[in-house]
């Protein structure tokens, strides 16, 4: 090795990984440098996580080589990864709820003879102080917020001596304020000469944090650029493969009509935990009402309660039709709601677990809305099949046939089937929970356009989202939930991300509440 060649902390050489016919990573070469933050950018399904999982010892590459400080290594298990000082923080945390932070951190470590929890606590505190983490080693995981759990995961890998850190979509569940805090810590670690990778698809984060950006598209390595020499538009073009416009059209609908009046809605879940606490709002026909909040703040229950799928403890939901006819929906089953002529379109968060039947094809899934129609014991397959064909063509669903199981389609196509069906039922209220989660940019914009089209037809659209930038561009008003309570309703055209961030963490958004 010559002195001129930069020695990477970790270098991937010609890595290929296949899953059946899918090539998740195709001949990818990439290097991580110490003292730098690398953003691994790409759409969902572009192979970012797969590539990093090969560094973490989750997968084994089919072809190619991994080098650590120039020497080839083999990572066959997460333990091997730790031996090479590589630590990955996965998107789904792997913590034991009833253990404390420190107990989770030492879990699985074998080296010391007897567990000295006091010493561990001290070490954990030391690491926290060094990088600016804010965590109590003796706090139990079940008492922690999402961002605290993430901190535990990061400290866990640092405790094991990792100096190459990989974070998979670390900001997906954080509020804007928490994100800022995390970024500050990551910068501290960079200054401590660690090599850091963050996997992301959010451009503003890439620009704010990283030194270099590596872009993947459909399993292919597109290139690496210095962050200082690029811009969001150029990165998007690299990610998608052609020029895309990133603006969402937001026309105003003139004839707003009260469609759904929700008053004091209160719900409990199966474990009798209060999930919605006296939520009151009005959804107007002809507007998109965004719903923001930290994951698990009651978004799911809110939509399911309106759809008649979640028992309502208290409150009322009054629907007003275009003709002015009113119906109280509380206490009605989905069938009854349909029978009184209220057309609710609902795109649930759990697409294959609630909205669709994974083992059936498009036709079988169209029947979810129409199976009861017609007299006699036999089910009509012709009409739903025609509808399936229409959606297949209109929304450009990629599938070999209308009978191909939707479970085996890609996420974006699954969502097109679901949204297409719900819109085809001519809803007067269209509720959707995280409708673009896991979708590529193009499909996401298709979905945004469909929502806006529905709005312009006078439909009351309720859009639960997680990307605040999108909510700010797409919606007319944004309702913010915090711990099941209504924290505030703001005008999406005038509010800021920071204001929504505050509302997400504190009811009413007052800074001095602590």
């Amino acid at each position: 090795m010559t002195a001129l060649e930069p020695v990477y902390a970790i270098e991937l050489k010609n890595i290929t990984k296949r899953f059946g016919s899918v090539v998740a990573n195709d001949n990818i070469s990439l290097g991580l440098k110490r003292g730098e933050i690398l953003s691994l950018l790409g759409e969902n399904g572009s192979g970012k996580t797969t590539l990093m999982n090969m560094l973490a010892g989750i997968y084994l590459p089919d072809e190619g080589q991994i080098l650590a400080d120039g020497a080839p290594i083999s990572i066959r298990s997460p333990k091997d990864a730790f031996d090479h000082r590589i630590g990955m923080i996965h998107q789904h945390y792997k913590l034991v709820d009833v253990f404390t932070a420190a107990q989770n951190i030492v879990l699985g470590l074998k080296d010391e003879g007897k567990l000295d929890i006091k010493k561990t606590n001290a070490r954990v505190r030391e690491i926290c102080q060094k990088y600016g983490f804010d965590i109590d080693p003796e706090k139990k995981v079940y008492d922690m917020s999402v961002s605290e759990k993430q901190t535990v995961e990061i400290v866990k890998v640092l405790y094991r001596g990792a100096d190459i850190l990989i974070l998979d979509e670390p900001t997906a569940v954080l509020t804007p304020q928490e994100t800022e805090k995390l970024f500050a810590i990551l910068r501290n670690m960079r200054d401590d000469n660690k090599a850091i990778v963050i996997i992301t698809h959010k451009l503003n984060e890439v620009m704010a944090l990283s030194d270099e950006v590596a872009v993947l598209r459909k399993g292919q390595y597109i290139g690496t650029v210095r962050t200082s020499r690029t811009n969001p538009q150029a990165l998007t073009d690299m990610m998608v493969g052609r020029a895309v416009t990133l603006n969402i059209d937001r026309p105003r609908y003139d004839d707003l009509q009260e469609r759904l009046v929700v008053k004091d809605l209160t719900c409990y879940d199966h474990e009798h935990v209060k999930k919605l606490d006296h939520v009151t709002f009005t959804a107007m026909g002809g507007e998109i009402l965004g719903v923001a909040g930290i994951a698990g703040s009651g978004q799911r229950q809110l939509l399911e309660a309106i759809a008649g799928l979640c028992p309502i403890h208290e409150g009322s939901v009054v629907y007003t039709s275009i003709e002015g006819e009113q119906h109280e929906l509380v206490g009605m089953s989905p069938t009854q709601i349909h029978k009184v002529g209220v057309s609710l379109g609902f795109v649930p968060e759990d697409r294959l677990g609630m909205g669709l039947v994974g083992s059936m094809g498009m036709t079988g899934n169209m029947m979810i809305r129409s199976w009861k129609e017609g007299k006699g014991p036999f089910v009509d397959r012709k009409t739903p099949q025609a509808l399936a064909k229409k959606i297949w063509e209109d929304l450009e669903v990629v599938t070999p046939s209308t009978e191909f199981p939707v479970r085996r389609m890609s996420g974006g196509n699954v969502q097109k089937v679901l949204v297409g069906r719900e819109i085809a039922s001519n809803p007067s209220v269209l509720m959707s929970a995280y409708p673009v989660r896991g979708l590529d940019i193009n499909t996401s914009y298709t979905i945004y356009n469909l929502m806006t089209q529905q709005k312009m037809k006078g439909v009351a659209v309720i859009f639960v989202g997680e990307d605040l930038d999108v909510l700010l561009e797409l919606c007319d008003r944004i309702l913010v939930l915090c711990g099941g309570k209504l924290s505030g309703i703001v005008d999406a055209r005038t509010t800021t991300k920071e204001e929504i961030g505050l509302l997400m963490t504190r009811v009413g958004g007052k800074e001095d509440a602590t």
């Binding site: 016919s21 080839p72 083999s74 089953s333 989905p334 349909h338 609630m354 089910v379």
Partner: protein
């Protein structure tokens, strides 16, 4: 390649795709493998496996008489597999077919004991069949009801229901309904199913049930509801289905068909009722249903295959003095290999090689 770089000796990867021909070749291979493994068991008993298999085939299909006996074994297996298919499609694990058969037979016997001689034979048989439908149906409905209302565990519940009804029949057999020496009296010929082609006409009934279940599962609203619930209960609720009601209805249907099987066995085959009337059919039929992947027509083939093994094993015992439990071993091996081979249809194994991975089936 550096010595530090090690790949595992053997690893698996998901298959890209597999041609139907190759998939069937693997399935056929698994049957051959099971028979080969079974021949080891036969060899251990000190016999020639080829001779043993030959005897089994001859003893089950070799003559008209043997064939009729084999069909007689297949009838309840097929009927019962058809009965549990809708439950299993719904992912409701009804392992109480044994009890539902007994309950159906008990109800049919009750009618036979009380109405024989009072009504013509055709009407008597019809009433017996209807009683069996209600008896078996109710016995299936009870666990269905509890599951729908209080989400009880259906596996344990249906299993326990077996012992209750079998106990009831055992008591009747030595108590109020005793005929001679702990047995019930034989039915009057008027209460026995007539023979068609040398076998009691139960075979026509189960073949009609094959068509019924096929149409029911594929083309009716009920069949659609069952498929949706089996995939996801939440999706079923989302689609506006009353999950509890559908569960109870399906369990009634399943129990009712088991009841018909009970009627066919007691009226057609045994001409009497005894506590061991189900004789394990309720459990063996689970094997039939799974191996057929819940396809009604495939069940005809699989139930015949198992009947051949059972009947063949009887012949083995009488002719070669090989224990009949050998057939249980072979059936077990068959199940193991046929279910296990699905893994090789979905995955391929990759052996370590110097140049990054050679593929093997």
């Amino acid at each position: 390649m550096n010595e530090a770089v090690k790949t595992p000796l053997l690893r698996m990867a998901k298959r890209t795709s597999i041609s139907p021909a190759a998939a069937w070749a693997i399935r056929l291979g698994s049957i051959v493998l099971a028979l080969l493994l079974g021949s080891i068991a036969v060899a251990i008993t000190g016999n020639n496996p080829i001779q043993a298999y030959g005897t089994m085939i001859k003893g089950s299909l070799g003559s008209k008489v043997y064939l009729r006996q084999t069909i007689k074994i297949a009838i309840p297996l097929l009927g019962c597999a058809l009965a549990i298919a809708p439950c299993f499609k719904m992912r409701f694990w009804n392992i109480g077919a044994e009890g539902q058969i007994t309950a159906g037979a008990l109800a049919a016997t009750f009618v036979a004991r009380n109405l024989t001689g009072k009504v013509p034979s055709v009407l008597l048989l019809t009433l017996m069949c209807l009683a069996a439908i209600v008896g078996g149906g109710v016995w299936g409905l009870i666990p269905g009801f509890f599951k729908a209302k209080w989400n009880t565990n259906e596996t344990l519940f249906t299993l326990m229901m077996n012992y209750i009804i079998i106990g009831v029949v055992a008591w009747l057999q030595i108590g109020p309904w005793e005929g001679r020496q702990g047995r019930m009296a034989q039915f009057d010929p008027a209460a026995c199913l007539p023979k068609v082609g040398g076998v009691h006409c139960g075979w026509i009934i189960v073949l009609l049930l094959v068509v019924f279940i096929h149409v029911y599962m594929r083309y009716t609203k009920h069949g659609y509801e069952i498929s949706v619930i089996g995939d996801s209960m939440n999706t079923a609720r989302y689609a506006g289905m009353n999950v509890g009601k559908i569960m109870m209805r399906t369990m009634f249907l399943s129990g009712a068909i088991c009841g018909i099987v009970g009627f066919v066995v007691c009226s057609g085959a045994n001409n009497t009722l005894a506590s061991d009337i189900a004789n394990g059919v309720g459990f063996t039929s689970i094997t039939v249903a799974w191996l057929s992947q819940l396809n009604a027509f495939a069940m005809i083939v699989i139930s015949m295959l198992l009947a051949i093994l059972t009947k063949g094993a009887d012949t083995l015992q009488t002719q070669l003095m090989i224990p009949a439990s050998i057939s249980d071993i072979i059936i077990g091996l068959l199940l193991f290999c046929m279910l296990g081979c699905e893994f090789f249809i979905n995955f391929k194994l990759i052996w370590r090689s110097k140049r990054g991975g050679k593929e093997a089936a």
